[in-house]
Symmetry: C2
Subunit: 112 residues, 2 copies
DNA sequence: TCAATATATATGAAATATCGCATATATGAA
DNA sequence: TTCATATATGCGATATTTCATATATATTGA
């Protein structure tokens, strides 16, 4: 992961919020990100594909859902950059986190 | 300084190297950056203007030369991001630093 | 098998960023 | 003032990025 690739990945609002949301929550599926970001499915999916190709995210499918998390082999310094950004820019994803909580029928919840 | 603005500033090779060089050396003028980056004057100058407008750099004129340094009011977390990036991507500016050393008649040196 | 839901990708248009060249401005020396 | 050096910027051409729409694939349950 070279620095330029990292910063190009972070230089878009959708991708930045996506990474901060996943940094905050650990793991999220596409439909949760759609709710948190209030964006269309193709848009969210395309940005996730970019982050996956860049090596920032890895995905695992569980049934219908594909969950995304920070790539386990992400270098330490990249993690620290994400953590610093997350800790000092919580306002950036505050709305998104609230929308997540309000989601009915969260994937994986027992109620459905 | 919001996170998105920071990362957009870092998402270009010329600007990233410029910031890492200034992080390494503390202060550099335009002609030193031209030598280190091996780029044309208008190109270097234009990217410096962007970094200045974004609040990442501040400049001071000393005679004919304009020196650029990290903006004194840059938030701590931005500094830490730059430091982390610098410490873990030294190869990125190695050539540039060597070219700097080889510069004859460095601005501010006593020999001219 | 079919239908419904979740996710991925292709395509072309629109917006944005970058670059090269020419030129403008500022400073210092003669 | 005039010249030389250092730096900044306006502008058109080009490259890159992003988006919306349509469509394709995968999984589950009937």
């Amino acid at each position: 992961m070279d620095a330029l690739a990292l910063f190009k990945s972070l230089a878009d609002e959708t991708r930045l919020k996506t990474l901060l949301l996943i940094t905050a929550k650990g793991e999220l599926c596409v439909c949760e990100l759609m709710a948190a970001l209030q964006d269309t499915q193709p848009k969210v999916s395309r940005h996730l594909a970019q982050l996956r190709k860049a090596g920032l995210l890895s995905d695992r499918r569980q049934g219908q859902w594909v969950y995304y998390n920070l790539h386990p082999e992400l270098p330490e310094w990249c993690l620290r950059v994400l953590q610093q950004t997350h800790l000092n820019n919580q306002a950036c994803i505050r709305d998104g986190l609230q929308l997540l909580e309000k989601m009915p029928n969260r994937p994986g919840s027992e109620c459905c």
